[in-house]
């Protein structure tokens, strides 16, 4: 099957680059990587066409693991959902690969970068194309691995090395649950194939599982375990801590992995498992609440950050929260839709910021920027487009998807209403921090060094062209899902996905939909207004506001001290216990104490008792006589 080539081409690129890159290919690595990923893109489009024509492809290639009744194969499923993901992944990858040619030019690890990136694309494609949970898990972990490599790409920086490690380990916490979920899925359904699992999903409703003496609903447990994985990978609360740190990686990596594709894997997975989630209210509500809370939580942090990439990173966390919110209220297609649009505008934001950083020679602090719009018009333009899109200005991609989510939330009963409020509030903040970013970066006066100012320039074509492409996506991607209110049968993406994801429940009135739409547009504008007021009109204001709400500001600026909390409650205690209690005391003192103590005791005995051997003949005779007496006494008189 030709579609197996979709993942294999990047894999090939990886293998060639990693083996020969160092000595032979060197700075020509993109000549292998870009065609490979472009080829994947072309194949993905063809696959999409196939699916559009109604062919769902489910193909088992070979049995991967067979052990007793446990059987799992390596196989691909290309259905509507996968097709969308394929397009997203391959298209954005292709653009970012091209962008990277310029961005990474001259880096010592150029070949390595393309190798890892290719490996990532392979892994991501495996993830979305898997037709069973274990292969999904394979892709899941593999993208994590690539993320680790790429975050730690500049490994000589300690911060980068730490961040890579942190990303992997935090993800492991999620995967811990995910893995258990997969096992539980098999134990419940006797298979890991999507088709079989989802086909039989209804049959296990009402079953319970006993955990530590309490019965829980089986489906809920499965869903929550799987969701654990999603929380980790998609950086939701409380496992979001790794994503901001992941910005230590090169910017294209942030764009591709930590914005457009990998972090959305959790969304994809939950959407993929919708037949299971649909059966558990508890799980759905959990998803929705986690999503909603994360959306606003991350947005609040984003308000005060000064690192350009971190702002976007928190924005990503927040937007991922939106997606989960959508999934949680049953609007799977809305979630995927937002995933799809978000991929473009967020990639655009990152690459734009990459362009800025590139121009400023790796300066990421926005306080040292300002007034760049005259130096970098193209970048500025695409940034504006992306911001309009993310803030949900009508007509741009973000508007359609975000609006759909908020509307679906609004329809979702009392919880839904609350979530809608959260979402809208988050939208206000999104707007604010997005504009704040633009204003701080591009408006006003340049605040950096003269040296930097001297070198300010627009990025080369190889960087700007992909930006333009993405900008097109950020504008038009939304037209795949125009709400019925505005256009009959406009929600083509929803329709397209409905065989996999079904239709969302609940119908609202036009008025309600209008209200939601209007409120979100309103808050978007309000966000712009406030940002403009604070950062353009009155640049002193932010400092004053910060002074005024000092504790609150500090809380936000320090990201609610979550990292510190984890450090104090988990990391340090574990390390301390390992070192002082387990290794230093238990292993060295108790176990080794016994292990060495017994021989030492015997040795002490030996030294003590050899003194009995006095060398005196009479003592020896005494021992003999005493022995004889003891035996006689024992035998004759004791018995």
């Amino acid at each position: 099957m030709k579609y197996t080539l979709i993942p294999l081409l990047p894999l090939l690129s990886f293998i060639i680059n990693i083996l020969f890159g160092r000595n032979f290919i060197k700075d020509k690595a993109h000549w292998i990587a870009v065609p490979a990923v472009a080829g994947s893109f072309i194949l993905a489009v063809s696959a999409f066409m196939d699916v559009l024509a109604g062919n769902v492809i489910n193909l088992n290639i070979y049995n991967w693991i067979v052990s007793g009744d446990f059987q799992v194969s390596i196989g691909f499923l290309i259905d509507q959902l996968t097709a969308i993901m394929l397009i997203v992944v391959t298209s954005i990858s292709t653009l970012i690969f091209i962008y990277s040619i310029g961005y990474m030019h001259g880096d010592g690890g150029y070949y390595r970068f393309f190798a890892y990136l290719s490996l990532f694309v392979f892994s991501m494609l495996m993830l979305v194309m898997a037709n069973n949970f274990l292969l999904l898990y394979f892709g899941w972990e593999a993208v994590g691995l690539c993320s680790y490599f790429l975050i730690g790409f500049w490994f000589h920086k300690k911060s980068a090395a730490d961040a890579g490690k942190k990303a992997f380990i935090v993800n492991r916490f999620g995967d811990f649950g995910f893995g258990l979920g997969v096992i539980l899925v098999f134990l419940t359904f006797g298979s890991l194939d999507y088709a079989q699992v989802f086909g039989n999903a209804g049959s296990v409703v009402g079953q319970t599982i006993n955990i530590l003496g309490t019965d829980y609903d089986l489906i809920t447990v499965i869903c929550l375990l799987l969701f654990c994985g999603a929380v980790g990978k998609s950086a939701q609360m409380p496992l979001h801590v790794w994503l901001p740190d992941a910005m230590e990686g090169p910017t294209p990596v942030s764009a591709l992995i930590h914005a457009a594709t990998m972090v959305t894997a959790g969304v994809f997975m939950v959407a993929r498992c919708n037949p299971l989630f649909n059966l558990s209210h508890t799980a759905m509500n959990t998803v929705a609440v986690v999503g909603g809370v994360t959306a606003i939580f991350a947005a609040t942090i984003g308000l005060v950050q000064n690192d350009i990439k971190r702002v976007i990173a928190y924005s990503t966390v927040s937007q991922l929260g939106y997606m989960f919110l959508a999934l949680g209220v049953g609007a799977y297609s809305a979630g995927i839709f937002h995933l799809y649009t978000h991929a473009y505008f967020k990639a655009l934001l990152f690459l734009g910021s990459g362009s800025v950083i590139h121009a400023l020679h790796d300066e990421q602090n926005m306080q040292k920027m300002g007034g760049l719009k005259k130096y970098m018009p193209v970048t500025y333009a695409v940034f504006i487009i992306a911001t309009l899109s993310i803030t949900g200005i009508p007509g741009l991609a973000g508007f359609f998807s975000k609006d759909e989510i908020l509307y679906r939330a609004y329809l979702g009963g009392d919880t839904g209403k609350f979530l809608w409020l959260l979402g809208t509030a988050a939208a206000l903040m999104t707007s604010f921090y997005s504009w704040r970013l633009i204003f701080m970066t591009f408006h006003g006066k340049f605040r950096g060094t003269h040296e930097q100012e001297h070198h300010l320039h627009e990025s080369p074509k190889v960087i700007t062209v992909p930006l333009m492409f993405l900008a097109v996506g950020a504008i038009f991607a939304g037209y795949a899902g125009i709400p019925p209110l505005l256009m009959e049968h406009g929600d083509r993406i929803g329709e397209f996905l409905s065989p996999v994801l079904g239709h969302p429940h609940g119908e609202g009135t036009h008025a309600e939909e209008m209200m939601v739409m209007a409120s979100s547009v309103l808050v978007a504008l309000a966000g712009w207004f406030i940002a403009h007021k604070m950062y353009v009109k009155n640049p002193e204001l932010p400092r004053k506001v910060a002074e005024m709400f000092k504790p609150f500001y500090n809380l936000l600026f320090n990201k609610y001290y979550v990292d510190e909390l984890y450090g104090k409650t988990i990391v340090q205690p574990v390390l301390k216990i390992s070192d002082k209690v387990i290794l230093g005391f238990f292993d060295a003192k108790i176990i080794e104490g016994i292990v060495n103590g017994v021989p030492n005791l015997i040795g002490a005995f030996s030294r003590k008792f050899r003194q009995v051997q006095t060398g005196l003949l009479s003592n020896y005779g005494l021992a003999m006589a005493l022995g004889a007496l003891a035996i006689i006494g024992y035998m004759i008189f004791m018995r």
């Binding site: 051997q613 060398g615 005196l616 009479s618």
Partner: protein, 100 residues
């Protein structure tokens, strides 16, 4: 008639005295003499048994014991002399070159 047990008790008492001598004395020669006492006590019991059992074996054995005792005395005293040549003492509690 003297009961057999009298002889045997005499023999046991004498044996015990021999043991005491062996364990208590310092002079190697007297220690050796204590061993001879023990042997003689055994001889008494053997002869008594032999007499009361109307069997000759005990007396024969006594004969051999006396022979061996003579040989033993020869060798033992030879060892003692050889020892004394290098270590001028025959005090039991001064002989502890080898110990531990």
């Amino acid at each position: 008639m003297v009961p057999l047990s009298w002889y045997i008790i005499l023999s046991a008492v004498m044996f015990s005295i021999g043991v005491f001598g062996f364990l208590a004395r310092r002079n190697l020669i007297i220690v050796f003499m204590s061993v001879e006492l023990m042997l003689n006590s055994v001889n008494i019991s053997l002869v008594a048994f032999s007499h009361y059992l109307q069997s000759m074996r005990g007396q024969i054995l006594v004969f051999f014991v006396i022979t061996v005792a003579a040989a033993e005395a020869a060798i033992g005293l030879a060892i003692l002399i050889a020892f004394y040549r290098n270590n001028p003492t025959i005090k039991v509690d001064e002989i502890n070159l080898l110990k531990g």
